[in-house]
Point group: C2
Chain length 363, copies 2
């Protein structure tokens, strides 16, 4: 049942070809993304032409500024959410260390952007955006533990348990997880212009989405299966690899988008389209991660590179080869952007560019 | 600031005498509780006479049957909440092992009873009652970890990490925590007769209460300070001991009661009285736990007895002596039951008897 999370993805890979839609479309307009990645010009043009916005609208959207402003806003919210220096000091220090370590704040940006595309003010989703980052950080802190992935380096810095010890790292994770729900449920976390009649029901639904993506249908399930695979010399079948990624990575990206959409007042039909968008970019995120692990240095990534190879971990490049992995990434990008057709072009621009960014990020 | 959680308790102990109200009242009626504990007859009679119900109502209330029925109902809800045999199997097995290990289900009973005293149907609070037990279990699983309290025995059985290994125990705890919120937020968890207009706002408020009692204002904070104290030979001051217990134990008992009250439709003033009741029985719970640790065997407790003494842990008996600890327990019981005056006597009977039970349990 849980395997049906993204039922089409595995069969897509097996069936190929990977991006018929993009290949069939005519190369025409240019775009910011194409400009940054000339070898993808034709594919991006096709996606832009078929799915989202005029070339003019695309070039006018300043993605870097958008992300910078959202990251700054979310960082302020995260900073304000955890008291500094108050007892228990070690706990608050560890929570702040893990949460404010930088990071690109992709999940919060997705949450805010989805609220916007659904017709809400992005500020309505600031608390949920902070919450998804808290959940993400919690999963990193616990996954890095010595009894799990035993990782010493994260976002270019020593991991939480290296600095604060194992007990505090476990507890800081627990505290971040509960803080996420506290933040979501606090009236004070939302601006005064949210609809007081509809808001509580939306919050309950959004909390349900967040909770579902963490446990045995999400992050935790992915980590459990990932741990089972690690250290065995057998080759992991593609379905199993996809199960891990859909749970460990895609589930929270999906929740980020869907939560934003719910808070923004999306219809059920809009929520489902945005959910499909998010599932595709979720898997895309992990395929790109696997590619970066074999093509980039630790310095470029801010975490240990080549770790997947060294640990005999099954990855997309190992199963499909690097070229086919890149083609699969393109196919997922195309699937994602197709789901944005039908939304207001200007409002959909952030989600469109987030998809490009996830596909073509360099770390 | 967090120290102000139960600001009066520490000063009460220092100031003494411990139960002036009970001592001043005249011994009169008998009660089930007094019957079970003849040496407390006078005090209980006094409490019963001043605070809650006629002797008739008290004797008519079958506490054992009440608790047995609630535990059976909650156990069914918990059993249904986690699929058996579905992947990831190890995770679900570990969650079920920890959650369905027995236990007295005191927190769920408090939640259900508070819903009833607030005027709701107890069934409205079944999902929140299951949720507080999930949170409780999660905190036990994480606190028992080798890097924390390193406990091998819990509820008479090997602890979760002993059976399933450390990584699964960490992850099962995370999954139980998120499942608690998922359960609270799922519409399907509530019976159809809840008020559809008021229900979502109540659920949001209740989720906020649950989230607050877990993290750096609750369970986790208590565990952090407890860990800091463990292994040091210095005597822990009473304020610090109380901080630990109010966070590690009382916070979730308080949340259990308050959540039930909110779901049951309590007024703000009723919620505050029930909150005060819960804070008193929360501290009471821990004082009694400390007393039992020095007066009972491992077999009677279903967990390692004498552990506090062996580990040089500061306890109420160590700080105050056994007699003064028992007197403090009586004072807290009296404080708790006083808060129930003003509620419907029949509806308040379960909470009254839960207070007696917590004061006079033998394991």
């Amino acid at each position: 049942m849980a395997m049906a999370f993204h039922p089409l993805a595995a069969s897509r890979v097996r069936l190929g070809p990977f991006f018929p839609a993009a290949a069939a479309a005519a190369p025409s307009a240019s775009s910011v993304a194409a400009h940054h990645h000339p070898h993808h010009r034709r594919r991006f043009s096709a996606i832009v032409a078929t799915a989202a916005a005029s070339a003019t609208a695309i070039t006018e959207f300043d993605f870097k500024a958008y992300m910078g402003e959202r990251a700054a806003t979310v960082n302020r919210a995260l900073d304000a959410a955890i008291p500094e220096g108050e007892p228990p000091k070690a706990l608050h220090d560890a929570m702040r260390y893990a949460l404010l370590a930088g990071g690109k704040r992709v999940r919060p940006a997705l949450c805010l952007a989805a609220c916007g595309v659904a017709g809400g003010r992005e500020a309505w989703a600031l608390a949920p955006a902070a919450a998804v980052e808290m959940v993400h950080t919690m999963s990193l802190v616990h996954d890095d533990l010595p009894c799990m992935d035993d990782d010493d380096l994260r976002r270019g810095k020593p991991t939480c348990h290296v600095v604060y010890g194992e007990p505090i790292a476990v507890l800081a994770g627990d505290a971040l997880l509960s803080l996420a729900f506290h933040h979501m449920a606090s009236i004070g976390s939302y601006p005064p212009d949210v609809d007081p009649d509809k808001h509580p029901a939306r919050v309950v639904r959004a909390i349900g989405e967040l909770a579902r993506c963490i446990g045995s249908e999400g992050l935790v399930a992915g980590q459990v299966v990932d741990l089972e695979m690690t250290g065995t010399s057998e080759i992991v079948p593609l379905e199993r690899l996809e199960y891990i990624h859909l749970h460990k990575t895609a589930a929270l990206l999906e929740a980020s988008v869907v939560i934003g959409a719910i808070i923004g007042g999306a219809t059920d039909e809009q929520i489902e389209r945005l959910r499909n968008y998010a599932r595709s970019i979720g898997l895309l995120f992990q395929v790109v991660d696997d590619i970066l692990d074999v093509t980039k240095s630790s310095e470029e990534l801010g975490k240990t590179a080549g770790k997947d190879l060294a640990s005999d971990k099954t990855t997309y490049p190992k199963l499909l080869g690097l070229d086919k992995s890149r083609e699969f990434a393109e196919k997922l990008l195309s699937d994602a952007t197709e789901q944005l057709a039908g939304f207001d072009k200007e409002k959909a621009a952030p989600l469109l560019h987030l998809a490009y960014y996830i596909a073509h990020r360099q770390n």
